[in-house]
Amino acid sequence: MIEVQGLTKKFGHTVAVDNLHFSVKKGEILGFLGPNGAGKTTTMRVITGYMPPTSGNVSVAGFNVMQDPLEVKKRVGYLPETPPLYTDMRVDEMLEFAGRIKGVEKSDLQQRMEEVAEKTAITDVRKKIVGHLSKGYRQRVGLAVALINSPDILVLDEPTAGLDPKQIIETRKLILSLAGEHTIILSTHILPEAANTCHRVMIINNGRLVAEDTPENLTARLQGFDTLRLVVDGPQAEIQEKVSSMDGIREVAASVTHDGKVELSVQMSHGKDLRREIARAVVESGWGLMELRPLGMSLEDIFLQLTTKESLEHEMEEAPESPVGSLEQ
């Protein structure tokens, strides 16, 4: 449905999106995950035809956004970060205007308005002035506006930002219920949200793709081999040999800390917990066991690590073979 090849977008000297490649299949929900300024909104703006890319090819439903912008726009419903609503209109007027400029037939318009109002649960505010609505309701009206012409593709920029927990859950349900007939791209800062709603997650940082997988795989890849951080006072080569010769150890990386201790990053096979054995081996060899702790990472941690440059470099220093490295594509 959506093909993005080598998408780059520069603003002056700022590179907002840097050579991004991805594609989205029909009916799929793709999540963009990334910190502030990662380039999520910019990518979405290019896909929706709001702004042209500096370079690269973007095609939506077989139409190139640069060559056939109108065909693309007919098929895409876009909910920007701030819902684009005229605050002096009534909700109904807003929906009607959106329907008209998006080419909904006059005879279908009233019915479509009713359907989307029903879907987004705004039926009871249809007569209200948009400017008087709460943030959450505005968000829903924005979603209704995006849905008004039943587009094949939905692009939702932080659809749950600013909502209360109950509304977040409702919006997620709504997005899931839309998934079958619509192809959806959404962006978020919140990991569980990506994990719960998306079929596939792309982690973006500084305009670049850092990791891409299903939420399950991302988690599984992490939990597949548990990693320990081990600091030992003793000779490096011997310690490394001793630990790697143990059963159930996949990989060991060692380095010397600035105060002369040996620091190891130990990867164990799936489901094994060898902390007791390692501790015993170290102590029995007469070395000093300074530290032993699991480096188990939650999705939250990966997110932070993958997207924070300093901590990424720091982690590479500490453990060159940590899961971070293996996730990079």
């Binding site: 703006r45 709001y50 895409v76 920007p80 684009p84 609503l85 002096d88 959106a98 400029i101």
Partner: protein, 259 residues
Amino acid sequence: MRNVWTITRKELNAYFRSPIAYIVLAVFAIIFGFFFYSVISLFMRQVFEQAQYTVMYGRMYPLNVNEMVIRPLLSNVSVVCLFLVPMITMRLFAEEKKSGTMELLMTAPITDMQIILGKFFAAFILYACLLGITFCYILILFRYGNPDWKPLIAGYLGQLLLGGCFLSFGLLLSTFTKNQLVAGSLTFGLFLMLWILNMASEYASTQVGQIVNYISFTTHIENFSKGVLDLKDTVYYLSVIGLGLFLTARSLESVRWRG
């Protein structure tokens, strides 16, 4: 065309929902009423003098209502528009940029030109309403006098065309910023400059002066207000309007690039 009309209707609704349209119309009605009153007073005095003259010399020189009332009135309209057109056009794009609704318009399956034309027509209709007010005053003249229709129509056509030029450039300046006040001030500044240039060029005999005089929006109104429909002047105005709208389209394109 349907899309253009959708935008036009939306803009007209916005004008008449907010106080802008009413303020502009009211201010205009009052100012124009004042002009009307003073021009009529002057005319009455002249009529009176004329009557004395007739009695004294036994001859009659007919006074022309078109020349002496309608023409000065219409030329005042363009001056008032200097102040009111920025108020009409300043919000057209600036407001959309500020509220983020630009993203709705620019991701809807409509072309930039349709958006621009829709907004231009809405502003033009509001401007025509302003002229409509002056027409109400002028109808009073028909009640008591016998003005000529033809120069009147030519004069109004000229005012519409001149207004179109002002509006299209006001629209252009509204794409430059999110801030309505900045857009309005820029527009006002531009019009004021054109006006001053025009006044200065009237005394200048140099070639530069003549060029400025040719470029200036207001010099071309002369023939219209004399009641002469000149193709050359009409083409001039239509091309200036076209230029304004074209530049607006270019500016929107650059807004897209810059985001």
